[in-house]
């Protein structure tokens, strides 16, 4: 993940492929270019951050199939589809299948570069979320069964006294479990603890400090 994000470019038209690669390089992007979806799937690095920009109409696997193949592999990286046949139905279909953008050739360089920037931002965000969720899940897994049990009660708003009664142990012991669980979860307030457990349940990050920052979406 320390590696620079890469734009994987797929187009069966070699001349256009080179041109798009140059255009992306003028923006300082790292680019890897492929003439077919199959060649891309063979060679790409699933761990490397970045996005895919692919032509819709390719010999062999087409752009939509490429997108499906990626999600079948559990890869959620952003896919931008390009096509020379710009019909609305295909565009809608592509977006429903999860493409972040659908560009009709020929397009303006600014539009193209903005779509790639957007896709890269989306991928970076998704990776950050995944990273944070994994950290929270790791912390949760380090709890003992008893600590877990206490935590479950704590986040539903029960008081120590009530939890002690529920579980049939002393309030003092509850306090010890609770303190350890909070420490293991890396939180100091009840609010933070609630947020982290919620995050795992929702499968996304709720970050109080960046509440305004939404997941980048297609414009």
């Amino acid at each position: 993940m320390d590696e620079e994000a890469v734009v994987y470019l797929v187009d069966d038209e070699p001349c256009l492929l080179r041109a798009l690669q140059r255009l992306l390089q003028t923006e300082g992007h790292a680019v890897q270019a492929f003439e077919s979806a199959e060649a891309f799937l063979r060679a790409y690095d699933p761990k490397r951050a970045g996005c895919v920009v692919t032509d819709l109409c390719l010999p062999g696997l087409d752009g939509l199939s490429l997108q499906r193949a990626l999600s079948a592999l559990g890869d959620t990286r952003a896919v931008v589809l390009m096509t020379a046949y710009g019909d609305i139905a295909t565009g809608v279909h592509a977006m429903k299948e999860g493409a972040v953008d659908f560009l009709v050739k020929p397009f303006d360089d600014e539009v193209f570069l903005a779509a790639v920037r957007n896709a890269l931002a989306r991928d970076a965000w998704d990776r950050e979320v995944l990273h944070e969720l994994q950290a929270v899940r790791g912390r949760l897994a380090s709890l003992t069964p008893r600590e877990h049990e206490v935590l479950d009660h704590v986040v539903t708003g029960r008081l120590n006294k009530q939890i002690a009664a529920d579980l049939g142990i002393t309030e003092k012991t509850i306090k010890v479990h609770r303190a350890r669980a909070m420490e293991k979860m890396g939180v100091s307030t009840l609010a933070e603890l609630v947020r982290k457990t919620l995050e795992v349940e929702l499968g996304t990050v709720i970050n109080g400090k960046r509440i305004d920052r939404q997941r980048p979406s297609a414009h």
Binding site: C15, R18, A19, L23, Q25, T26, E27, A84, P106
Partner: protein
């Protein structure tokens, strides 16, 4: 028919004939038997009797032939224009590709020039690609123009491999649109023929587009078109187009080359009949068959041009 007796030893410069159809070019056949009675009657006799000549006016006959030929060429041309209609969407795409490449290259070049680029691309390479793409766009237009143009059938020495390549270039986008994979197996040597390159291209385009249609019902990724040329055996060149599509219903195999016979909802039924016409005019033949493994195969056999046959 006019018969005239020409005195022996007379020097004939002009013969005046009345011709019923003087246009476009009068045509007369003159038949003169070689001194028919010379041997029987000796030299003196022949000098006396003279020689018999037959003048046959052929203008109207030639004109009828010419009209038929023109009609046939007109039909071939019309079929070709129809073919272009089928190809037009794909040809527009074929033009869009190099234009898109030119545009994107120019945009990348502009960013470098204006200094807004983070990294400099090689301007040399950009310009080289722009030149190439422009040339390609011009070539597409040139080929379209050739298909649209109407002119008399040509008899040129050509290479069957080149005809195949040109047809494939024109049909490339159509094949992509149909999701068809092409397997091209051209004879390693040039296959010389005498004929009209545009008409032969027309035949091939027809077969390719038919094959694409026939494979539409196949699963994506399972549409295989094979095109092969061979200079031989013997003095015959062959060109085969095979697909793995739905094949030809057994009862129809006899009728597919008939004029106005079609299985396509939008078809006119002239493609294959005109193809057979063209191939026959080139001294060849065209046959269709179903493949054992599924799909159809069309095989065209043409005489190899002798002057520079390959070996």
């Amino acid at each position: 028919m006019a018969l005239g007796s020409i005195p022996a030893k007379a020097r004939i410069r002009w013969v005046r004939l009345r011709i019923s159809h003087p246009l476009p070019r009068p045509c007369v056949r003159v038949t003169m038997p070689a001194w028919p009675r010379q041997k029987a009657e000796g030299r003196a006799g022949s000098r006396r009797q003279g020689r018999l000549a037959a003048f046959q006016e052929l203008t109207s006959e030639r004109r009828r032939e010419r009209e038929l030929r023109l009609q046939r060429e007109q039909l071939i041309h019309l079929a070709r224009v129809g073919l272009l209609g089928e190809l037009s969407a794909a040809l527009v795409h074929e033009l869009k590709q190099p234009l898109a490449a030119i545009l994107v290259n120019a945009q990348a070049g502009r960013r470098c020039w204006k200094g807004t680029a983070h990294a400099q691309a090689s301007v040399d390479e950009i310009l080289e690609d722009i030149v190439d793409a422009s040339q390609r766009a011009i070539n597409v237009i040139q080929r379209m123009r050739e298909l649209f143009l109407r002119r008399d059938a040509q008899r040129l020495t050509l290479d069957l491999n080149m005809v195949a390549r040109d047809a494939v270039t024109l049909a490339r986008s159509s094949m992509a649109e149909h999701g068809v994979r092409l397997e091209l197996a051209l004879d390693a040597h040039a296959v010389p023929l005498r004929g009209d390159p545009v008409q032969l291209q027309q035949v091939l385009l027809n077969l390719i587009l038919n094959a694409c249609d026939a494979m539409d019902a196949n699963r994506a990724g399972m549409r295989q078109l094979a095109l092969a040329t061979a200079g031989g055996p013997g003095a015959e060149a062959s060109l085969t187009v095979s697909d793995n599509g739905c094949g030809i219903a057994s009862g129809l195999l006899e009728r597919i080359f008939d004029a106005f016979f079609t299985t396509k909802p939008q078809g006119l039924g002239v493609g294959l009949s005109v193809s057979r016409e063209i191939v026959a005019a080139h001294g060849g033949r065209i046959e269709a068959a179903n493949r054992a493994e599924g799909g159809a195969v069309f095989r065209i056999t043409l005489p190899i041009a002798e002057e520079n046959s390959h070996g």
